[in-house]
């Protein structure tokens, strides 16, 4: 990883901004490189005070694996939710589930909460202020403990390995 300096406090974010700028402009002209570069340096410097310390990604390969697993799960979860919505009998078993977090840093928790919302018939509703419990609303759940276990095994364990182990 590139070490952060005074004028480049978040190198990864700067790179990302430049790449996104060039892709959105759909041009590799010199002017776009200069403008994108100026923005990529300026934006992180200006919004630096609002950012948390950036976590280090310990295992980038696992992150890619996690990305594709979540992508597959999004499709599966959507077919499940569609079935539930279209089911004329409407037999749903909604529940509020308090999910005990093992993750400690804010960024991984954000990823986990987003994953929970996108995937298995659940929406993460509230992160308690102590940062230890995530309140989750599930659309159709039989066994609450099984759901907690599934989220832990399938999503939180890999995130722990990627960011905190």
């Amino acid at each position: 990883m590139i070490p952060p300096t005074r004028w480049l406090p978040m190198p990864v974010l700067s790179m990302l901004l430049l790449v996104v700028w060039l892709l959105l402009q759909h041009s590799m002209a010199l002017g776009q490189w200069i403008l994108g570069g100026v923005l990529a340096i300026l934006i992180p410097v200006v919004c630096r005070p609002f950012w948390e310390r950036q976590p280090t990604i310990k295992r980038p390969m696992k992150l890619i694996g996690y990305f594709f697993r979540v992508l597959g799960d999004i499709v599966v979860a959507n077919i499940q939710v569609s079935k539930l919505i279209l089911d004329p009998r409407g037999q749903m078993r909604p529940a509020f589930v308090e999910y005990p977090l093992t993750l400690k840093e804010n960024f991984p928790i954000t990823i986990l909460a987003s994953t929970i919302t996108m995937t298995p018939g659940t929406v993460s509703a509230h992160l308690r202020l102590d940062g230890r419990t995530l309140l989750v609303h599930a659309l159709d759940v039989g066994d609450i403990n099984a759901l907690i276990d599934e989220i832990h095994q399938r999503y939180e364990r890999p995130l722990l390995e990627i960011f905190e182990s």
Binding site: N78, V81, F96, A113, S114, H126, H137
Partner: protein, 130 residues
């Protein structure tokens, strides 16, 4: 042959996208309480938009060279949808909206210390304002 297959993929993506967007909207009208209604737009409609955009990505890439904007839009949609769903759920909890009676689990966030309006506080007379 290859052309027909690519067109088939585009058509499939567009139809799947439309179907998912429709089902998500249907969920908005059919589900019983706010928290359940949140599931439709946050998941199903997002995937619907994603499918449509991927169809558009393939179509325009075939017409005039590789186009990447649609992919970026898809990624942004998938990053922002959970955040807005989370904020909606948070504000619902803040307003202590009643969940469907079948909902199991009783989070502390929904326990009210006192009823919102006692009879004395409730608006009297024929004022149109609440």
């Amino acid at each position: 042959m290859l052309d027909t297959m690519i067109e088939g993929v585009i058509a499939f993506m567009l139809i799947a996208g439309g179907a998912f967007a429709f089902i998500g909207s249907l969920g908005l009208t059919h589900l019983k309480d706010f928290y359940m209604r949140l599931h439709g737009p946050s998941k199903t409609t997002t995937l619907g938009v994603g499918c449509t955009l991927i169809g558009a990505l393939i179509y325009f890439s075939r017409e005039d060279g590789p186009v990447i904007q649609e992919l970026l839009i898809t990624i942004f949609a998938f990053i922002t949808a959970p955040v807005s769903a989370h904020m909606l759920a948070k504000s619902a909890l803040h307003h202590k909206l009643k969940p469907d009676p079948r909902t199991r689990g009783n989070p502390v966030e929904l326990e009210s210390e006192r009823p919102r309006h006692t009879i004395e506080e409730a608006p009297q007379g024929d004022s149109p304002l609440p």
